[in-house]
């Protein structure tokens, strides 16, 4: 059996998708990227071999910021193109807008007829990214998913600083003045949503807006984002694999 493998090495997580010739997803792997994407790539290789996949025969496309650290990849494609392609596959639509909140960057991708038409990425700043959420969750002694759940019960507080470092000290002073945790959690999510929404103002949003990346399973975040953008934000359990799925689909076009 010939396999098509997409590997998305992000700043936080490495996602791997194995597809068969009929575009059926046969395996999904998820692991932390750790400090070395080269080691991560090797670990993925070993794991896939162990699962009985003939890696010499398989077509491999790597994406994500660690894409250049996958020596056995037949091709590298950027995460923008892969997320566009993968999201179309997951949601079964060729015209949509992807919002990908990743570990170190947030991207908005507008896709028309299955092709990336335009995209926006945050400039060198972690505001509105997964890292921002992670740092704030840490400060509050919560896991990111707990923070999002708690945020649903909060209200009335806002964080004005967009900078992760300054926002952290803002959160610390909120803690210091005895603000209930759920209100601070609310402010954190609200800050991410606002930042993403302001980026969205530079792109024409399509009718279908889909959230991908590690935060797409956080219902409250999707809901607030939808409210702010005045659209329905779609999510899917495969959303966090969108980049890897796009890479696996790209692998089908690789000739070896």
């Amino acid at each position: 059996m010939k396999y098509f493998i997409g590997i998305d090495i992000g700043s936080t997580c490495a996602k791997t998708i194995v597809m068969d010739e009929n575009k059926q997803i046969v395996h999904r792997l998820l692991q932390p990227t750790g400090w070395s994407s080269v080691d991560t790539a090797q670990a993925i290789y070993a794991k896939l071999e162990e699962m009985g996949i003939n890696m010499k025969e398989a077509n491999v496309v790597a994406t994500g910021y660690g894409r250049i650290s996958v020596p056995y990849a037949d091709k590298c494609v950027t995460e923008i193109t892969c997320h566009g392609r993968g999201t179309c596959f997951v949601y079964g639509s060729q015209d949509l807008t992807v919002i990908d909140i990743g570990g170190q960057d947030t991207k908005l991708i507008s896709v028309e007829a299955g092709m990336v038409k335009d995209f926006i990425m945050n400039d060198k700043c972690s505001a509105g990214t997964g890292r921002f959420l992670e740092v704030m969750a840490n400060t509050l002694g919560l896991r990111p998913e707990e923070l999002c759940q708690l945020a649903a019960q909060g209200s009335g507080v806002s964080i004005s600083s967009m900078c992760t470092v300054f926002a952290e000290s803002e959160v610390i002073s909120l803690i210091g003045r005895g603000e209930p945790k759920q209100n601070i959690a609310f402010a954190v999510v609200d800050s991410i949503v606002k930042k993403v929404a302001s980026q969205a103002g530079r792109l024409t949003l399509g009718k279908t807006v889909c959230l991908t990346g590690g935060l797409c399973e956080f219902d409250y975040l999707c809901e607030s984002l939808g409210k702010k953008l005045n659209v329905t934000v779609n999510t899917n359990p495969d959303g966090r694999y969108a980049g890897a799925i796009g890479a696996a689909l790209s692998a089908m076009n690789v000739r070896k």
Partner: protein, 379 residues
């Protein structure tokens, strides 16, 4: 006359030492050096006054920490770098300048010039920033004031005939430079943007008109005969626009060309923008003709910046551009704000457009190259 080198001269790298010795030599032979920053500087007037004009725009982050002891952190890296070079005596051209000439262009430069004047005598030309209030009269008067200042301060005479002669020569330089850049209209283009930019930079530090023209012509001939005409076959044709980019070439132009694109046209200050318009050397009032020429430069300090909005569609067509990449320097309010209008313009031309904001550090080079790569995958 004897000139002394900066105290830390011996610590400098060889190229910098050579630069210092070259300018020192020029001064010892009686040459006068004017440090300039901007495409708006009326070089004809400096030529007529017997000055050699050299660009002082800082392109490296080396002097930024020093500059930040006086300037705010969140400021354009070009301004900080330039000021830092003056503060630390690390730039031969700033160090040996008899005069620095600045214009009231952006706020950052304006305020920096006030402080620069404490290090080196700095003359400010007040540039009108719009088209509704008779800018030609205002700018012509400013140029006359500048002429008078130079005559009095440096004991020279600047006649209309000298200005006309300087303008003719500058026109020839511009046409020669334009001809070189226009080689990139070919499909595929004979040069990469990195190579073309290097030629533009090289000419900036040549001191005489004759040498400059000869060098530009030689470069063009060498490209016509030697360049590998197919090195960029099939590459997507990119126009770069926005701020001066000498300090961020690696992260932008190089990244574009490593991802299957080729920069065929620079709309920026050191590119076409600086060479496109000519002075009407036959005009009755030569000072006014010079003023009119400079007011056609489509810089974002102009409001509204109609010349840039006219130039971009023209260049898209002439250079058969597949995509526009705008490269802006961090905290450049005029250019960063104008990206919104340029995007609308690009949309109306149906040309994909990407804008990035960056500085002289390397911290965002990974992110930028991903963006350039993705942009090219999209084309």
């Amino acid at each position: 006359m004897e000139y002394t080198l900066p105290e830390q001269f011996e610590e400098f790298a060889d190229a910098r030492k050579a630069g210092f010795l070259r300018v020192k030599g020029l001064k010892e032979q009686g040459g006068k050096v004017a440090g300039v920053f901007c495409t708006f500087t009326p070089t004809e007037i400096l030529d007529a006054a017997g000055f050699v004009s050299v660009s002082l725009c800082g392109m490296s982050d080396e002097t930024i920490p020093a500059a930040e002891s006086h300037l705010p952190k969140n400021m354009c890296p070009l301004i900080k770098s330039s000021y830092g070079f003056a503060l630390t005596d690390k730039c031969p051209y700033t160090y040996f300048s008899d005069l620095i000439v600045g214009e009231t262009t952006c706020d950052g430069k304006k305020k920096m010039y006030e402080m620069l004047n404490d290090i080196k005598p700095t003359y400010i030309l007040h540039l009108p920033q719009g088209y509704d209030s008779d800018p030609v009269t205002i700018w012509t008067n400013e140029l006359r004031r500048f002429i008078k200042f130079l005559e009095e301060k440096f004991n020279v005479t600047i006649t209309d005939e000298m200005l006309r002669d300087a303008a003719r020569k500058r026109n020839i330089q511009r046409q020669t430079h334009l001809k070189l850049m226009e080689l990139q209209k070919q499909c595929p283009p004979p040069l990469g943007g990195m190579q073309m930019y290097a030629t533009m930079e090289g000419v900036g530090f040549v001191f005489t008109h004759e040498e400059r023209v000869a060098k530009l012509n030689a470069l063009r001939e060498s490209v016509e005969t030697n360049a590998d005409k197919n090195q960029f076959a099939g590459a997507k044709r990119i126009m770069v626009t926005g701020c001066p980019i000498g300090g961020v070439l690696g992260k932008t132009v190089k990244a574009i060309e490593a991802s299957g694109g080729v920069v065929v046209c620079f709309e920026n200050c050191s590119g076409i923008k600086a060479a496109y318009q000519m002075v009407d050397t036959e005009a009755e009032d030569i000072v006014k003709a010079i003023a009119e020429r400079y007011l056609q430069i489509g810089c974002s300090v102009m409001t509204p910046n109609k010349e840039r909005m006219k130039m971009i569609p023209k260049l898209v067509e002439e250079y058969k551009v597949d995509g526009i990449v705008e490269v802006d320097l961090q905290a450049c309010t005029p250019y960063c704000t104008e990206t919104f209008k340029v995007k609308q313009l690009a949309d109306s031309l149906n040309i994909p457009y990407l804008a990035v904001e960056t500085d002289y550090s390397q911290s965002d080079s990974g992110q930028l190259s991903t963006r350039m790569e993705a942009f090219l995958e999209m084309l």
